[in-house]
């Protein structure tokens, strides 16, 4: 350990770079050479990279542990290189953004989850995806995902996190649409990607706001300058006033125009939460996650249950110090978490697809995490991330194992995921059954399991914990008195429902008789056939082997995860305080990270003594849910459920269709975007193409067809035009042109008139202005000079004769104006004013060099 600390000092912890880089190398090698490497080499590369990364993460964790005794929150940093310089609006300074990685208790634990569970799922996938032609592609994406996730977790600033954030989004998209040959898989990938964009917008805005107010984007800088976020921001009206507000009458207009302000912290926290809600599938952006089950099952386990979807919770914990500045935003987070937990649970009741049920369960559990984080119980929320990663990954992999077995019989993706075709699998798949049973116990909260400790801590805190209103915050949001009760009620209802639908899933899959010998009647065949998937008639007996246990590569990860699901709770066993046992290592480990945030979190009066009561209530919830499901599906063989469905077919339909939220979005948001696109297409068709392109082309074409008449193609017509032109030039040469250039100098009174020269020209002048030529004959004198007194004018006449004896006449009027009495013209030579073009010179005088106005012939 000592040697390690010497090799990797805390301020230059290079090991972080290796942790991040290894999966990237794996992805690069598999991506470029994977096709030629063969399955075994691809497996070795993919698994090896993540495993070594995991080992490094463990080493990092222990180094971190050994530093943690030193008071301040321990943190290991690897400073990479300067990424960019950002200029600051607030004080005109600038801040450097570094590509640097750091690890503290929070990210260290998260990195262990990602690399550890990541490795297990890699191992699982090496068997699950064995026969897939895209084997190497799958491992490339998985490794790339691990890389992105590690960047997200270990990034030392928001922009670095954002790179990872987008990276995992990309990998999620690629893996959801892994079997892109089927339309619905590609559509699901697209849906996930686009829904996440909305969240990313929020994250980007939050980043901009934080940079504006705090002047830093790295964690330490943000936390140090978070006090700046307490300033007021006017959010309404957007400009000086609301346009046209007074139409509604004076009082309404005044009401509309009243400025509304919030604190910058509230804005930042809400925008950050929008990002978290997108990534972690919270209301209203949760719709992508259930569809994401179109991807291979290991992907669902890794990305859409254990790691990526918890990134939102991680980000919220990471920026906890900012969130707690705004009790209002925190209440919104907690409320949305609670509502998501309940809503997703209701949908899970009616689903038959085993992965869909697990997906809605994931959304619901993520809701719990936000519920915990929202009331300030960051440790509890994050602890649920940890335990959920164990039991939900285990359930998904278990479901994958079941699907694997079913698929070997049924050869149809949809049918092999349908719970109505399963049942009684306990006999055939003992390992899968037992690991699934442990995860089931954990998720519904059987005492002693990991889910029991994490969920019940969240529920307790939801009731007892709240965020204090800071006197310096202008919002003035007070945590409502009924807040705790409401949040607890949501969480409690969610807990009952979780126990119910999970038990339904568990019973339906593993107990009773195996129903997969025939295809269930109600099961609908997929819309389109493909490949080796045959179409089967209902009630037809299927050939094929009985369901079988999966190979060791698949059940070993299950077993490891099940151990975590069973005993992970003792990392933070708050409930044991009831027996006066203090066993909360995770809490102590994370304490320094949430130290600043915890200062704003309060506990209601008497909240410390509620533990026993709430544990009792939690057991009631488990008993109600699980017992209810046992009664309905085992004792009554599902009769009450059928009766309920027959009694309320509309309601069942509605829940089965997921409350038709997708349809609602289809009608509103997507409809709006569609009509915008239609308008754009219309404008393109009629305005851009119609007016701009067609009209101008029509004009050119019309001019062309007019001018084309001149192009006869007959040489003689062209020659005739040439002759006419020659004639015109000849006429110009034959006629004389009496033009002259007049140079005037009003100050001295000297004027000159110079005739323009021409071939064979001779000139005759009338210089004295008496109207008669000065001489009888034409001569070579081509200019005259004369002097004029002030306020005198004279007309000079020029006659030009050319070689053919033709004569042209023109007269020029010269005038010398009076000097300006105001004295402006006296000063003019000292202060020459640049002549404005087009403006008449003062006093009607002509500027020097200006040709005199001709006065006819």
């Amino acid at each position: 350990m000592h040697a390690l600390e010497e090799l990797f000092p805390a301020s230059d912890f290079t090991l972080l770079a290796f942790i991040v880089l290894l999966p990237l190398i794996g992805a690069a090698v598999n991506g470029v050479f994977g096709k030629r490497l063969g399955r075994q080499a691809v497996t070795l590369m993919g698994l090896g990279a993540v495993f070594v990364s995991f080992v490094f993460a463990v080493v990092t964790f222990f180094v971190l542990k050994s530093h943690s005794g030193e008071g301040e929150s321990p943190k290991l940093i690897w400073k990479g290189w300067e990424w960019m310089k950002l200029s600051l609006a607030q004080n005109g300074g600038s801040t450097s953004l570094w590509v640097s990685l750091s690890v503290d208790a929070l990210s260290g634990t998260m990195a262990l989850i990602v690399t550890g569970i990541g490795f297990l799922i890699h191992l699982y996938s090496s068997k699950y995806m064995e026969d897939d032609p895209g084997f190497y592609r799958f491992f490339t994406y998985l490794n790339l995902f691990i890389f992105s996730m590690l960047v997200l977790i270990l990034g030392d600033s928001l922009p670095v996190l954002f790179v990872g954030w987008e990276g995992v989004g990309l990998c999620s998209y690629l893996l959801i649409g892994f079997w892109f040959g089927e339309e619905k898989n590609a559509a699901a990938g697209k849906k996930a990607f686009i829904t996440n964009r909305i969240g990313d917008f929020g994250l980007l805005v939050a980043m901009g706001l934080i940079l504006y107010y705090c002047g830093a984007l790295d964690w330490a800088g943000m936390e140090a300058a978070r006090g700046n976020l307490l300033s007021q921001v006017q959010i309404w009206p957007l400009g000086d006033h609301v346009p046209l507000a007074n139409i509604l009458g004076d009082s309404a207009g005044a009401w509309l125009n009243t400025p509304r302000t919030v604190s910058a912290a509230t804005l930042v926290a809400l925008f950050l939460f929008l990002g978290c809600a997108g990534k972690s599938a919270q209301l209203p952006l949760y719709v992508w996650l259930p569809d994401a089950m179109a991807g291979p099952t290991p992907v669902s386990a890794l990305i859409h249950a254990a790691t990526m979807v918890t990134a939102g919770v991680y980000l919220m914990c990471r920026t906890a110090a900012i969130f707690v500045l705004s009790p209002g935003a925190m209440f919104v987070v907690a409320l949305i978490g609670g509502l998501t937990a309940v809503l997703a649970a209701t949908i899970a009741f009616a689903q038959n697809d085993i992965k869909k049920v697990l997906a809605y369960s994931t959304v619901s559990q993520l809701g719990y995490m936000f519920l915990g984080a929202g009331v300030g119980a960051f440790t509890a929320g994050f602890f649920h991330v940890l335990t959920h990663a164990f039991f939900k990954a285990c359930m998904f992999l278990g479901a994958g194992s079941v699907i694997h077995a079913m698929h070997a019989r049924i050869h149809d993706t949809d049918a092999s995921q349908d719970m109505r075709n399963m049942g009684g699998l306990r006999k055939y798949m003992p390992y899968t059954f037992w690991t699934f049973a442990i995860s089931w116990a954990a998720i519904i909260g059987i005492p002693g399991t990991s889910g029991f400790f994490s969920k019940d801590e969240i529920l307790l805190k939801a009731y007892s914990s709240y965020i204090a209103t800071q006197s310096s915050v202008p919002d003035g949001f007070e945590w409502p008195k009924w807040g705790g009760t409401l949040l607890y009620a949501l969480g409690f209802a969610g807990a009952i429902m979780t126990a119910f639908y999970m038990t339904r899933l568990f019973i339906g899959t593993f107990f009773g008789e195996f129903r997969g010998w025939t295809i269930v009647k109600n099961w609908k065949a997929p819309a389109h056939e493909h490949g080796h998937h045959h179409h089967h008639d209902p009630d037809e007996l299927l050939d094929g082997p009985a369901p079988h246990e999966s190979p060791w590569q698949m059940w070993v990860p299950l077993a490891v995860l099940a151990v975590g699901a069973a005993f992970g709770g003792f990392l933070n066993a708050g409930a044991l305080e009831l027996f006066h046992i203090e066993l909360m290592p995770l809490d102590h480990f994370l304490e320094p990270v949430f130290e600043k945030a915890a200062a704003n979190v309060r506990v209601i009066e008497g909240g410390e003594h509620l533990l026993g009561t709430f544990l009792g209530l939690a057991l009631v919830a488990v008993a109600l849910g699980a017992g209810g499901a046992y009664y309905v599906y085992v004792q009554m063989k599902g009769e009450p459920a059928r009766a309920f469905t027959e009694k309320f077919p509309g309601l069942h339909r509605l829940v089965f269709d997921k409350w038709r939220v997708d349809e609602l979005y289809e009608e509103t948001v997507i409809g709006a975007v569609d009509s915008l696109a239609e308008f754009g297409a219309w404008a393109d068709k009629w305005i851009v193409d119609g007016i701009l392109a067609k009209l101008s082309s029509f004009l050119v074409r019309a001019a062309g067809s007019l001018l084309r008449q001149l192009q006869t193609g007959r040489i003689q017509a062209y020659a005739a035009v040439m002759v006419v032109g020659l004639g015109a030039v000849g006429w110009f040469l034959i006629a004389p042109h009496a033009n002259a250039k007049v140079v005037s100098n009003h100050a001295s009174g000297a004027y000159s008139v110079t005739a323009t020269p021409g071939l064979g020209y001779s000139y005759r002048w009338d210089e004295d202005g008496d109207g008669k030529p000065d001489s009888e004959t034409f001569g070579n004198k081509n200019s005259v000079e004369l002097k004029l007194d002030v306020d005198k004018r004279r007309t000079v006449q020029l006659e030009v004769k050319n070689a053919f004896g033709q004569v042209a006449t023109r007269s020029f009027e010269l005038a010398r104006p009076k000097p300006d009495k105001s004295g402006l013209s006296d000063r003019a030579p000292e202060q020459p004013q640049p002549a404005r073009p087009g403006a008449p010179p003062p006093g009607n005088q002509l500027p020097p060099g200006h040709p005199a106005i001709p006065q006819g012939h």
Binding site: T712, G713, R714
Partner: protein, 105 residues
């Protein structure tokens, strides 16, 4: 001076006359051969004017040299022109310039 005296005007007038005949012939006749001959007329009218004016400039032979060049170029032009007429006739079985409108759409 010389026996021609101040009678350059006559030559210039004759030259103008021939040039006019040539240009009118070029414009009004449709037979390409006749048009070629009209062009020759115009060229020769120019030659005549050049030589006549050159008489006014004693010791300067530029005008006459120029007319030799024109004769040489005219000979080449006639050769090329006749070759074109021949090709054109092979193409269209015609020697009328109105039929030579292939450049038009």
């Amino acid at each position: 001076m010389n026996i021609l005296g101040n009678v350059v005007e006559h030559y210039v007038l004759l030259s103008a006359l021939i040039f006019t005949i040539g240009s009118i012939g070029f414009l009004v006749r449709r037979n390409v051969l006749v048009q070629l001959m009209s062009i020759e007329l115009m060229l020769n009218a120019v030659n005549l004017a050049l030589v006549a004016f050159n008489r006014r400039h004693v010791g300067d032979m530029n005008g006459q040299v120029f007319s030799f060049f024109i004769i040489a170029v005219a000979a080449a032009e006639a050769a090329v022109g006749l070759a074109i007429v021949l090709s054109f006739y092979r193409l269209k079985q015609s020697v009328f310039s109105d039929d030579a409108d292939q450049l038009r759409l």
